[in-house]
């Protein structure tokens, strides 16, 4: 599964990385914890997760086929 990053995260981690997702999916919290091992910036609670381009809570379930992204606080326009 492809995970996208924007803003500061896109710069430090890269625009996207690929991870294997369990077939039954996992929560955002679980996914974040796994990714944060390699990318400490993702542990910050100002970093929010998106599923299919909408910000979601930590309890949201990530399933195969979802587009997942992590984003820093918006700068605004």
């Amino acid at each position: 599964m492809k995970i996208l990053f924007f803003g500061r995260l896109g710069e430090t981690i890269g625009r996207e990385i690929h991870v294997d997702l369990p077939a039954e999916g996992c929560t955002i919290a679980e996914l974040r914890a796994r990714l944060a091992e390699a990318h400490g910036a993702l542990a910050a609670d100002t970093v929010r997760a998106c599923i299919d381009r909408e910000i979601v809570p930590e309890t949201a379930l990530v399933l195969p086929g979802h587009e997942v992204a992590f984003v820093p606080p918006l700068s605004g326009g």
């Binding site: 803003g7 896109g10 984003v71 820093p72 918006l74 605004g76 326009g77």
Partner: protein, 150 residues
Amino acid sequence: MVRLEPDELRPAEALERFIASLAGDGAVVSFVGLARATDDSGKAVTGLFLDCYPGMTEASLDAIAADAHARFQISAVAIVHRSGAVAPGAPIVFAAAAAPHRRAAFEAADYLMDRLKTDAAFWKREDKAGGAAWVEPRQSDRADRARWSD
């Protein structure tokens, strides 16, 4: 008329097109934001980079336009917003509202900008002599946004 513009933003063309799209409104208020040549501390900015999340960013602009329509007696809204690298002094955003009466057009344009400054899905990097810095909304932008809280 909501658009993300990865290339040059031409405010005059945007205004022309917006006015041409109207049917009988008397009042058009538009805002043009130009990239500042200095940051909030007065340090020279050599360039601005607006990162966006394709799909999510457009949706955030659409939502702001829809909220303005719901809130004010206006008949049309335009938002054209740059993404990518913006040179100091270059236009970043064009936002406009049209209405039969000017008060609604002024308030809606004001509202569009306050919302865009905090709620538009962009991540902004200021490139400076000392290096680059990702920025968050100013406290003053948050305060402006709070004026419209329900």
